[in-house]
Amino acid sequence: MPGIDECLSQAMAIAGARAAGLIDWSSGLALGSVGVSPTGDHDTTAAEATDLVRAAVEGATFTAAEDGKAPLQDIILTAGRSYHLLCFIDTVFDSRLVLHLWLDRAEGNLAGARYRLQSLAEELVLG
């Protein structure tokens, strides 16, 4: 049964993964991070990822039509050399968590990584 550490280790095993983190986006806290941070500081990464998540979640535009417990499924950001995936974690108890995966664009496969990250997020909660 995976805990946080196992979940992050497995995220790092995704092809092209450069960093993975578990972020509480209600506060911007990194509950766990593995790999190299794009900014050199995992806490900064968590805080900045939180800003992105909040921008998406708090505008009605992106969430109005949804009724799930987690407001969104994931946020995908693409750049010239990177992909960033933010996958929302759905827990029965109240929480606001995302798994953040930073992928090298040349080595990574966005669709595969997204699929894998979602199943990791589910396994983390469901066991």
Partner: protein, 378 residues
């Protein structure tokens, strides 16, 4: 693995999940060398430096350390693990009680719940870390000193080992959260007082006057339950949400002018002339000293929230029935201007005749009548 980057769990930032306390006798049990002049934050860091094991207990809660790492924290201001798991329906309260009863004495409640398949390890870790940070941040980030705190060496928490966090990291996070909250709306006073809805008003000037988003669903839920009696901590417990997230939402609502503490200066009617307050607020506006009631019976100012409803006074109906014009139970009036003095108009007749005058909204008037009638039957 083609990945050049290490995935060594030891690289995990600051937090040690899957934390296991060292086997064998735990190292130096501190002679209770906690200086009462320290702040709780400094004390925890000092205990951590000495790799202490035990419980640092204060009026607001307790921090548990094992071998210098913080393994649990409990605060009156933050919902605990049980609250989060049971209010959400994740665990049946009986299941929880039974686990605590059976495995608490062996300090392995968490482990047992996972072994029995009641919770997954991930859920336990997520929930535990969330509540640990939530409580610890409130406990550690205070300028108050340790005057009434005690350290119980060797004491461990009944939940058992789940995850542990370094004391320095906790302190830094506590400070960061305080800054976050102050950036939303710098009013720490709101964190501990009963909250009430206010009529929406123009956002306050200054940097908070940026585009105001309509409240989210979660924020509406808070507004609905902000009845002038519940504090942030009570709202957080009611919904099974973290105290920090609830506090942040409350501050956002306060910044938007939708929520306030008792008698806060932001009360509407201070210029916006909210519909309800306009005609009758002269003598009763929060913060305005007692003056002659407008058109009401007697000279007793009836404290009322700007929302129209009078704050219920515990025992008021009883006082009215016994005809005791109870001495205002609120000599503490200056700091909390709206702490209601006990209405003493009993002799002048039923309250029903007096109160609706102050309620312009028919719904509000009806509610007041219903409540008055119910109170009269107490």
């Amino acid at each position: 693995m083609t990945n050049p980057v290490t995935s060594d769990p030891a690289a995990t930032v600051g937090t040690q999940v899957g934390f296991r306390p060292p086997a064998g006798p735990v190292a130096p049990v501190l002679p209770v060398a906690v200086d009462p002049g320290w702040t709780p934050g400094a004390a925890v860091e000092r205990l951590a430096a000495e790799r202490a094991t035990g419980a640092l207990r204060g009026p607001a809660g307790t921090v548990y350390l094992v071998d210098g790492l913080v393994t649990h924290a409990e605060s009156h201001r933050a919902p605990d693990l049980a609250t989060l798991l049971t209010t959400s329906g994740r665990l049946d309260p009986d299941t929880w009680q039974e686990a605590v009863h059976r495995f608490g004495p062996y300090a392995r409640v968490g482990e047992a719940l996972v072994e029995q398949g009641r919770l997954t390890r991930g859920e336990l870790e997520l929930c535990h870390l969330g509540t640990l940070y939530d409580a610890a941040c409130f406990l550690l980030d205070t300028p108050a000193t340790l005057a009434s705190w005690t350290f119980a060496p060797g004491m461990r928490h009944w939940l058992g080992p789940v995850a542990a966090v370094g004391a320095h990291r906790l302190r830094r996070e506590a400070e960061r959260r305080r800054h976050l909250l102050d950036r939303i709306w710098p009013s720490a006073q709101l964190d501990t007082v009963p909250l009430r809805r206010t009529a929406a008003q123009a956002p306050a000037p200054g940097r908070h006057a940026r585009r105001v988003r309509p409240p989210t669903r979660r924020q509406y839920e808070l507004l609905d339950r902000a009845d002038g009696r519940r504090t942030v901590a009570e709202l957080a417990r009611l919904f099974g949400r973290s105290a920090f997230a609830t506090t942040a939402d409350v501050r956002r609502l306060a910044a938007a002018g939708l929520l306030a503490g008792p008698g806060a200066g932001t009360a509407p009617g201070a210029g916006t002339g909210s519909g309800v307050g306009a005609g009758c607020a002269a003598g009763v506006a929060p913060g305005v000293g007692p003056g002659p009631g407008v058109g009401t019976v007697g000279a007793v100012p009836v404290p009322r929230g700007p929302g129209g409803l009078h704050r219920r006074v515990p025992g008021a109906a009883l006082a009215a029935l016994t005809g005791r014009a109870a001495a205002p139970s609120a000599p503490a009036a200056p700091p909390l201007p709206t702490v209601p003095s006990v209405p003493a108009q009993a002799a002048s007749g039923p309250r029903t005749t007096a109160l609706p005058l102050t309620a312009a909204d028919p719904d509000t008037a009806l509610l007041i009548r219903v409540r008055t009638l119910l109170e009269a039957r107490l």
